[in-house]
């Protein structure tokens, strides 16, 4: 494909007319980064353009010395011959879609996004364009997210149940985005304190600094040795499951918050006691709606169950193609 705005390269998605990469995998001279998850924001590049709302997280991720230009959502800036602006993607705090205008054409790279309300970030903003690049992590119609209030009801009922049984409730969730969303969704419902795994502390702090209201939290590491966590809720990244760190939570009931928990086989196979369907990606209706909202005449689909989404979009009359962008795996952003 020889589009002056879009070219897949080994380093990542390249914009020739603007001479920059979007979420490069490898160090490049100029990068536009959509959000702070480790598989999108990688250190080592010369200069970064990011959304101002996520500047704190980006500094955490890219290093205090990195050259970072922060832009308000909707603000237009020039990269080479291209007019670029960043627009809310609703994925995590500071996540952005990249709008590129050049020669009368508009291309939007949506990055990772979701359409469900989330108190921790600005909601996804539909941007009209000629070419829309969409993710497809959950590109099957079996993925439809339940309302968050219902998930929080289940979560609180589980917590109460654990309290009644006098055992800890350990909820595994990704440290950036998911954890803060859960803490923020809990805020209007309870004032109980939640314990945090060390990997989450600075990220939660960044969210607080950005003005996101969450329930009170306390690091697990600051609890006295031998403390009994019976009846307490603890958030930890999935990598902590089965680690020696877990030994302090004797007889704990474990839960996992992820879009993959929608499927019963996944819930049973993962070996967690409970699955909570919480995702920072768009579900199937969200993907279709975003494609429709873009009014684009061409759709590019990246990663995930892309083939299915492409075929379905074609059935609906869209010109849909796959766009192969290499993307490393990252433990923080798996659904």
């Amino acid at each position: 494909m020889s589009d002056p705005l879009l070219q897949p390269r080994p380093e990542g998605l390249y914009c020739p007319a603007g001479d920059f990469f979007i979420d490069p995998m490898l160090p490049v001279a100029r990068a536009v980064v959509t959000h702070a998850h480790g598989d999108h924001a990688r250190s080592g590049s010369g200069r970064y353009q990011v959304a101002a709302a996520g500047i704190g997280l980006m500094r955490e991720r890219l290093g205090q010395d990195a050259l970072i230009d922060a832009h308000d959502y909707g603000e237009t800036f020039r990269m080479g011959e291209v007019e670029v602006s960043l627009h809310p993607a609703g994925h995590v705090l500071g996540s952005a879609q990249v709008r590129m205008a050049y020669g009368g054409r508009v291309v939007v790279v949506s990055g990772d996004y979701k359409r469900d309300p989330d108190p921790t970030c600005v909601p996804f903003e539909p941007v009209s364009c000629d070419v829309f690049v969409t993710e497809s992590t959950f590109g099957l119609p079996v993925y439809r997210w339940p309302p968050m209030t219902q998930v929080i009801d289940d979560l609180l009922a589980w917590w109460d149940d654990c309290a009644q049984k006098q055992i800890p409730a350990v909820l595994f969730c990704y440290a950036l985005g998911k954890a803060q969303r859960i803490l923020a969704e809990l805020a209007p419902r309870t004032e109980r304190m939640v314990h945090l795994h060390g990997a989450m502390l600075r990220l939660v702090e960044s969210y607080r600094e950005a003005g996101v209201r969450m329930v009170p939290t306390e690091p697990v590491s600051e609890s006295a040795r031998g403390r009994n966590f019976a009846g307490e809720l603890i958030l930890a990244p999935p990598s902590a499951a089965g680690s020696p760190w877990m030994k302090r939570f004797s007889k704990a009931s474990t839960g996992f918050a992820s879009g993959w928990m929608q499927i019963r086989g996944n819930r049973r196979r993962r070996g967690y006691d409970r699955g909570f369907v919480v995702s920072d990606h768009a579900d199937w209706p969200g993907l279709i709606r975003s494609v429709e909202d873009s009014q684009a005449s061409r759709i590019y689909v990246t990663h995930g169950d892309g083939d299915t989404l492409i075929r379905h979009l074609r059935d609906l009359g869209h010109d849909a193609q796959s766009l192969h962008v290499l993307r490393g795996t990252d433990n923080e952003s798996g659904g």
Binding site: P141, I263, R264, R268, D273, T308, H312
Partner: protein
């Protein structure tokens, strides 16, 4: 349906047997009697006859959602369970049928569904789905398509009924054995106190099952306290004659009456009534050996075998134990006495009913040598039974052990994979393996188990990246990986493309050290099968 769906969710959420038993017991206490009886029935593995085909379910789903067939197929492939796929894809229903009792569904609505013309059935399914919440849609579909698969065994249901009613587990198990039918008063009938007038005449006894011997045989102690016999590879069954009437029940507690007339005739010729535990075998009278299991398979499906089949594939009943004699329950008597009575009872009757011979040896070492003959005798190994043992209920460790011979092994190449079900849905876990026939690889075994979760995940990713062809859910993969498989037997088979059938194949190891050139040859399997 709402209440039962809640129970199901509760059962699905816990792996603890104790928690499951408690959840079932409290459901039985709270639910209306008719619902409770049906819940016990379906949780214990009971099914209604097939009510709708999966094609009809897919048609109804396509009509309800407007999704293309291919999209439904792709979704099903990911989810691995049609009932769940449907619940996940449908628009949410209004719940107006949520309070309809389970009993009404099982006794009226679902049987009526089966009687409809196919097109009406599809329409009826859509109407029900519109009136149920997703969890209830899922459960309804499960009831329609068969198994609930929620990690509840028949035994656990029996225990839950015992816990709820306060009656002994073994009594409940016996009363539920055979073709127990749910009805509003069925649970009351199960749980009243034991009385002398107990009429269990048409029911088999719950089977006593042996556990695999996992330690050195010498640890069983004094050999004089034990009896050894061959572990025959047929259908475990109870042959009963009560008041002159003969019945035959499989271990799955299905009636086999009529299928094996030569065994029933032999039972009719007995001197007195009795209930005999034993094994149905395809029997070669000349060689005095069982014939391969494939020979028995010809008989299993035949409800009324013709004269030709009776001659070409004769069967016998190999008697292990006597559970009842002239109406009195012998199960508490020691095995040595039951065996003596059994020998006396069947002495001199038709050869279709014979005593499973003891394997005699004067030391454990000598017995170990005898055991090496298991294959030549067409058996799977030895059974070891304590001579003082009562006939217990279910799988209780300690008195009866199965001591199987080591399996055969072969190195085979992964050829095809398809997604598993239940706990393994959405992952490629059902594998087909092949061996060399000249310079092509031909499939000889399907195996589902033997890899750990890490290996399954690794292989799943590899399969997705190295698919060469698709046939529905089945993917052909590049011939790369070699696995060591174990199997119990190999038989010549006209039904298989390779000409051989392996019995109970499973994966022992992923042989990353081997290349496909090292895989075994079909000729060797053929030789083993004819040997």
């Amino acid at each position: 349906m709402h209440r039962f769906a809640t129970l199901y969710t509760e059962l699905d959420r816990t792996a603890s047997t104790l928690a499951k038993r408690g959840a079932i017991a409290s459901y039985l206490r709270d639910a209306p009697a008719g619902d409770a009886a049906w819940a016990a029935y379906v949780l214990g593995g009971g099914k209604l006859r097939r009510l709708a085909t999966s094609t009809e379910l897919r048609q109804a789903l396509a009509a309800s959602t407007g999704y293309a067939d291919w999209l439904i197929d792709e979704s099903y492939e990911q989810v691995g369970d049609l009932a769940e796929t449907i619940a996940l894809m449908l628009p949410e229903g209004d719940g107006s049928l949520a309070d309809e009792p389970l009993q009404t569904w099982m006794e009226q609505k679902l049987p009526a569904l089966a009687k409809l013309e196919s097109a009406d059935r599809v329409a009826q399914l859509q109407a029900w789905w519109r009136a149920l919440r997703p969890a209830q849609v899922f459960l309804l579909n499960k009831l329609i398509t068969g198994s609930l698969r929620v990690g509840v065994s028949h035994r656990l249901v029996v225990q839950a009924i015992a816990q709820w009613s306060g009656q002994p587990t073994d009594l409940i198990a016996h009363r539920m054995s055979g073709q127990w039918k749910p009805a509003a008063d069925a649970l009351t009938a199960l749980t009243h106190a034991a009385g002398d007038d107990e009429h269990l005449a048409d029911r088999p006894y719950p089977f006593f099952l042996a556990s695999p011997l996992e330690h050195e045989v010498e640890m069983l102690g004094d050999m004089d306290e034990w009896m050894a016999e061959w572990k025959w590879d047929g259908i475990r069954a109870q042959l009963m004659r009560r008041d002159g009437h003969v019945g035959l029940w499989s271990r799955g507690e299905e009636r086999l009456d009529g299928r094996f007339p030569e065994i029933e005739e032999a039972a009719a010729a007995l001197k007195s009534d009795g209930v005999i535990d034993g094994e149905i075998l395809a029997w070669d009278a000349q060689e005095k050996l069982p014939r391969p299991f494939t020979a028995l398979q010809k008989r299993i499906g035949k409800l009324k075998p013709g004269a030709k089949l009776l001659t070409s594939a004769p069967v016998c009943f190999m008697a292990y134990d006597l559970l009842e004699h002239n109406g009195s329950d012998l199960r508490e008597q020691p095995l040595r006495e039951r065996r003596d009575m059994l020998a006396a009872l069947i002495d001199g009757v038709d050869p279709a009913l014979m005593l499973s011979p003891p394997v005699v040896a004067d030391s454990w070492t000598a017995l170990t040598v005898e055991r090496q003959q298991s294959r030549q005798r067409q058996t799977e190994g030895l059974m070891l039974k304590r001579l003082d043992s009562p006939y217990r209920v279910g799988r209780k460790r300690g008195d009866w052990w199965k001591w199987k011979v080591d399996p055969y092994t072969l190195d085979a190449v992964l050829l095809y994979a398809q997604p598993g079900h239940g706990r393994r849905s959405g992952l490629f876990t059902d594998y087909t393996f092949g061996v060399w026939d000249g310079d092509t690889l031909v499939p000889v075994a399907k195996a589902y188990s033997g890899l750990d979760d890490k290996e399954i995940g690794q292989l799943d990713r590899w399969i997705r990246a190295h698919t060469t062809d698709r046939f529905g859910p089945v993917r052909a993969v590049e011939a790369t990986h070699v696995f060591e498989l174990a199997f119990e037997a190999v038989q010549l088979s006209a039904r298989h493309k390779s000409g051989v059938a392996t019995r109970f194949p499973r994966i022992l190891r992923w042989r990353t050290d081997k290349s496909i050139a090292d895989a075994d040859k079909l000729d060797d399997l053929r030789r083993l099968a004819s040997g």
